[in-house]
């Protein structure tokens, strides 16, 4: 099976700082691939290059076989890539339902004249979109708040709203930037289930997350970054045991302690 997403030798430099340095990996349908690393390792920068917000200095991104390096975000959305943000990108003065309805933008094409005159066909289409949006809100547990304005909602709720809106695009691959940040244990459990469900429906997931328990539990594959470089890659058990990964997280001394404990 061809990979949905192929990242090859991707690098970006901000002045002299190589924030991401020669990173390559692949994501296949139904896989949950997690990118881990300490703060400043380049995880979000990597996401921003893949989703077209930053232009890489080197390397390429391929989506379903097509080269999409530096393609604009709206074109990536059309090709089946959706993402969420660590620090939220919602429509603040719209209701949650409207937020998710906007996510249906690409499926609503055409029919300008019936829309302008409010013909029955157009009203049916809008109702179908609203129903679809409502069921997506239900899927992330927000259906009761459907008619509340986004700016009145908590951070945790808006993170789930972003996931619902991203699903409205019917993506082939979903990039989730810290979906469990700011969530309590129960909410994290729900996010865990939600992500697993989405992946089992065939959507590939690329995840940045700091909650290691969550990452270890749901990932099929993990990529560890430190100072912009890929330091390890493999299944959760192998990556967790990798001495470089432990060193990156705990510092050199921590690594020694772990090694001594092993020996």
């Amino acid at each position: 099976m061809t990979p949905l997403l192929e990242v090859a030798n991707l690098s970006i430099a901000f002045g002299g700082l190589r924030a991401v340095d020669d990173v390559s990996f692949e994501v296949r349908p139904g896989q949950i691939v997690s990118v881990i690393g300490p703060n400043g390792a380049g995880k979000t920068t990597l996401f921003n290059m893949i989703s077209g917000l930053y232009r890489p200095t080197q390397g390429s991104v391929r989506l379903v076989g097509a080269d999409v390096t530096s393609a604009e975000p709206h074109l990536l959305a059309r090709r089946g890539l959706a993402r969420t943000f660590q620090n939220l990108q919602v429509f603040p003065s719209m209701t949650l339902l409207e937020n998710v309805m906007v996510g249906h933008h690409l499926q609503e094409a055409g029919a300008t004249l019936p829309d302008l005159f409010g013909l029955p066909s157009s009203r049916r289409k809008t109702r179908a979109t609203a129903e679809s949006a409502l069921s997506l809100l239900a899927r992330v547990g927000l259906e009761k708040a459907a008619f509340r304005e986004a700016l009145t909602m908590s951070y945790g709720a808006l993170k789930r709203l972003e996931i619902a809106r991203a699903l409205a695009l019917r993506p082939k691959i979903l990039l989730l930037d810290e979906p469990a940040a700011g969530c309590n244990a129960v909410e994290t459990e729900e996010i865990d289930q939600l992500i697993t469900e989405i992946a089992s429906s065939g959507v590939a997931i690329l995840l940045v997350e700091h909650d290691m328990k969550l990452v270890m539990k749901i990932s099929s594959h993990i990529i560890a970054l430190d100072h912009g470089r890929k330091i390890a890659e493999g299944n959760p058990g192998d990556v967790a045991a990798n001495p470089d990964v432990i060193a990156a997280y705990l510092g050199q001394k921590g690594q020694e302690q772990v090694l001594h404990a092993d020996g």
Partner: protein, 290 residues
């Protein structure tokens, strides 16, 4: 009493033009956060274009249509040539670019057209109508109903069409709009074209009353900006109310105080608003989560 009615008539006529100007400001501001000070030039081009179209032998409707289309095209060109290349620059720099564009358009118009003051006859003749002791030019009715038509048409466009909704989504959060597949660059081009066409339309309607010349744009832009600020920049309803209010205030000042102070009204209003009510009548308070 008939005095007051007379002032209200002229205030509403000018106010309708300010409302259209403010609407132009609003549409571009919503798409790009840019305050486009070339907005007044669009009004000038609408009027001047029609004048010279008529002089070239075109029937009035055709001359007006050509002026509106030409101005819309210029708005798109302004975005493509001057605004879009500056993407990523601070908003203030882009605003200064629009002031530069306004000066350029004014200069080009003085060469391309001329430096004379022009008008053409009102569409339904020049015989004043009488209402309750006050007079009203039929052209004023054209201006008011034209403005009303534009506002209704845009309201339908924004609430019903997918493109209109995409424009609203873009004004709400540009990045989020791009993420759901909205081409925000196209939205910006469309906003400039639309704002330019609306400005030109206002110019076509009002030139028989106010006359026009190559240099009327800057003054119009400042009044339109004051109207947009009064209503709350970024809100189309605010643009309508702000425009009409400013027009009436100007007319009352001219009538009851002195016509010499008429032009000061807009500027005094801008200063007072910035001091006491920076978000305007209908503006949303700006709170950004970083």
């Amino acid at each position: 009493m008939s005095d007051l009615l007379q002032f209200l008539f002229s205030g509403l006529t000018v106010g309708a033009v300010y409302a259209l100007l403010a609407l132009g400001f609003t549409i571009i501001f919503n798409a790009s956060d840019v305050v486009n000070f070339a907005q007044g030039e669009f009004v000038m081009l609408g009027g001047m274009g029609t004048v010279f179209g008529i002089a070239a032998g075109l029937p009035v409707p055709l001359a007006a249509l050509a002026a509106i289309m030409g101005t819309a095209f210029l708005g798109v060109a302004l975005n493509k040539l001057a605004i879009e290349p500056a993407r990523g620059a601070p908003v203030v720099s882009v605003i200064i670019i629009t002031i530069g564009a306004a000066i350029f358009i004014q200069g080009a118009a003085s060469v391309l057209f001329d430096k004379q003051i022009h008008r053409y006859p009102g569409f339904s003749g020049e015989r004043a109508l009488h209402f309750g002791g006050a007079t009203l030019l039929p052209q004023s009715l054209w201006v008011m109903s034209g403005a009303a038509m534009i506002f209704v048409a845009l309201w339908v466009f924004f609430t019903r069409s997918l493109t209109g909704k995409a424009m609203l989504a873009t004004s709400n959060n540009r990045l989020a709009a791009a993420l759901v597949g909205i081409n925000t660059r196209y939205i910006m081009t469309l906003s400039f074209g639309l704002s330019a066409a609306i400005g030109a339309f206002a110019g076509v309607l009002v030139t028989p009353i106010t006359m026009t010349a190559y240099n009327v744009g800057i003054g119009l832009a400042l009044s339109g900006f004051a109207a947009a600020m009064l209503g709350g920049l970024g809100n189309p309803v605010g643009a309508l109310v702000g425009g009409l209010l400013l027009g009436i205030l100007e007319a009352l000042t001219a009538g009851y105080i002195s016509s010499q102070y008429k032009d000061a009204v807009a500027f005094i209003l801008i200063i007072l608003l910035l001091f006491f009510m920076p978000q305007g009548l209908f503006g949303s308070k700006h709170a950004e989560r970083v």
